[in-house]
Amino acid sequence: MSGTFFEVRDVSKSFPGVKALDCVSMSIERGEVRALVGENGAGKSTLMKVLNGNYKADCGSLLIDGCEVHISDPTVAAQKGISIIFQELNLVSGLSIAENIFAGRLSENGKPIRWREIRKKAKQYLDRIGFDIDPKTEVGQLSVAGKQMVEIAKALSYNAQLILMDEPSASLTQNELEKLFAIIRDLKQKGIAVIYISHRLEEIFSICDTVTVMRDGQIIGTSAVKDVTKDKLVEMMVGREISQTFPQREHHIQEEVLRVENLIRKGGKAKISFNLHRGEVLGIAGLVGAGRTEAMRALYGVDYIAGGSVYVNGKKLSSSSPQAAKEAGIAFLTEDRKEEGLTIDFSIKSNIVMAKLRTIVKRAFLNNAMENRVADKYIQAIKIKTPSRNQKVLNLSGGNQQKVVVAKWFNTDSDIIIMDEPTRGIDVGAKFEIYEIINDLVSQGKAVIMISSELPEILGMSDRVLVMKSDAIVAELIGARINAVDIMNYAF
């Protein structure tokens, strides 16, 4: 055991309603580049945050060179030689590269800052990774790749022995990716270990030595990269019994109900066009940052658009606004149910009726009895678990909160339902219920668009799949041609 550089032993971490890490154990050697793969919600980010001190594990231990360490916050982690490069980069855009690298450590004990020295030292670290740039440059001016380099230089300046990279390649071009790989190889030579989280299996085979697969908060397995294939990895990530976790459904696809033509959001990189039919579940797959949520927000009129049109039942929407979309019969269940899907301080019943107040109006006034009846109807129909309809939504579990959002849109009797990550952060039982609801909707002749980062969901529920990348639709897979490998391939 004492030969191992870094070890995680039986670490668990739970959040209300969700067990994010379940007795996770793994060990890493110096200079090892370990890939960490798994679907969204598998626990990868949570594990990284525990290692970095952002979260405290409920139980288990972390060991460096055989000695147990207590990482209570990010500064302790940095001292112990652990640095993390988050996806949402941890930099202050208004300040220079040099200052970002040495933020908080610019001088000792109130002595004046020696900027020339700081910049010189910064340049040294930048040179070490081959990033030729003036350390005075404002970080806000850099591309994502540049910012990542700054983060790596920063990690080096803390004498990091273990660098955690969370989806580093998400916004990089091929060139920039090659440069990143060169840096990682260099770090490897210096004996620095890297944990590399990524959805992009091709990259893993290019740069990593070993790979660990996670699923539902557990470690499924670890092996050398040369001993596995992409398909094997996908199988481990996704689990074998795909068909059994999804309800059966008959596919009756009818006429077109929605058509989107050349839609592009303000600041978007590409136009999209697609259509949707009654009785159809259209899955939208892609990596985080591919632009799926942004596309739906543009469709629904939540964000400004730069062009394009949306037709419902052949009629063009009167304007690009949620009002027009809702009137035309489109419902939009957003990704962020707490901040956008619900009025979190209000009761279940007010949330359920808020999208169509007309349903509780009697003689021009809102009627309390009607509001109660409408709320009860949906609470029973979708089995929302709550002691009372007046309970604040804040106090419900994730699954029940999502059900309230569903109830709200049910109340509008919309024909087209857009769902963005409908089962995120929800337990297995509630997930199944949501799938049943979706199937029920399409069997009534409605249409569902489902954005999901969980491949099993896409595979198990969709009649047709659109794959998006960099704001554009890059592939359309229908029926029998839908499969995990193709989707992953198109996604990057």
Binding site: E340, T343, D345, F346, M354, A355, A364, L366
Partner: protein, 321 residues
């Protein structure tokens, strides 16, 4: 203690926390009764009602801005502006009705101006504070320019004076106006689709926008209402004092804010209503009354009221989650 007894206490504690405003009101009424023997006499109570009506109407307007997720520091300046306009035009044109119309027009204009700026900046309460701080200063300057810094005297029409000074069945007309306005607003807020949409837009602008509510339009409405209320308050006030001073609104926004927040309206938006306004205005009126009775310097009263506001905000924050 047994579990049943313990849960009764926690429920009582919870009720007390949710209804601190009521408890405070009761405490103040008791204090008032102790300090003054004819506290419960009809004349005294009616005088109290008359006195708090102006602040009461102002508090309605301020609350409307809170409900849409904003804040309004300019209503004091609007009060001054409308007051001098009302009396000034009444004097120069001879028609009280014209003066009133001018005041109402100015109030609506000021409120709408604030509302438009809020729409343009997509503002929340932080932006509202800064914007209304500035528009308030502009409004005060307008008031001062209009009357060259001097008070205007001389409201003539009897029916006009009756608004502030008269009674109907020995109940002050001013208070009746205030109560009627509160009832109307409460009905709108609680019982109409429009009102419900307004509350939702203040509570969470993103979720309200996603269900098709015109969040920006609601802000415009809330702030315009605040301007209108300030104008109506100005009418009541000038009819009572038969004079208008460009400084009459100084601190009136603060008074309205304290009354509204102490009564239970939340800074966070979308929570509260006219019942809270009623309680808050009465609390504020009683506190002022008691402070006056005990002979505390008016400037020290300022500080006491400031402390109360801070306490109320702390409580609001604690109650929020």
């Amino acid at each position: 203690m047994s579990d049943v007894e313990k849960s009764k206490w926690t429920r009582a504690g919870g009720w007390a926390r949710d209804n601190t405003n009521l408890l405070l009101l009761v405490a103040l009424i008791v204090a008032g009764a102790l300090l003054s023997e004819n506290f419960f006499s009809w004349t005294n109570l009616m005088n109290l009602m008359r006195r708090i009506s102006v602040n009461g109407v102002m508090a309605i307007g301020f609350t409307m801005t809170l409900l849409v997720g904003g804040f309004d520091l300019s209503i004091g300046a609007t009060l001054s502006m409308c007051a001098v306009l009302c009396v000034g035009i009444e004097k120069s044109s001879g028609s009280a009705a014209l003066g009133m119309a001018a005041a109402i027009g100015a109030g609506l204009a000021m409120g709408a101006f604030n509302g438009v700026l809020m729409m343009v900046t997509r503002g929340g309460s932080g932006e509202a504070f800064l914007i209304t701080l500035a528009t308030g200063m502009v409004g005060t300057a307008i008031a001062l320019t209009y009357c060259s810094g001097l008070d205007i005297y001389g409201v003539n029409a009897e029916w006009y004076k009756a608004i502030g000074q008269g009674n109907v069945a020995s109940f002050p007309i001013a208070a009746i106006i205030w109560i009627v306005l509160m009832v109307v607003m409460q009905v709108i807020i609680k019982k109409t689709q429009f009102g419900r949409k307004m509350i939702l837009s203040g509570a969470n602008k993103k979720s309200a926008f996603l269900v098709g509510i015109d969040v920006n339009g609601m802000k415009l409405f809330g702030f315009t209402m605040a301007g209108l209320m300030a104008a109506l308050a100005a009418i009541i006030m000038t009819s009572r004092t038969t004079a208008a001073s460009p400084y009459s609104g100084n601190g009136a926004d603060f008074d309205a804010a304290i009354a509204s927040i102490v009564g239970g309206n939340s800074l966070v938006g979308g929570k509260g209503g006219m019942v809270q306004v009623l309680i808050g205005v009465m609390i504020y009126g009683l506190i002022t009354n008691i402070l006056n009775l005990t002979g505390i310097d008016s400037v020290v009263q300022y500080i006491v009221k400031g402390a109360i506001l801070l306490l109320a905000i702390c409580l609001d924050k604690l109650n929020r989650r």
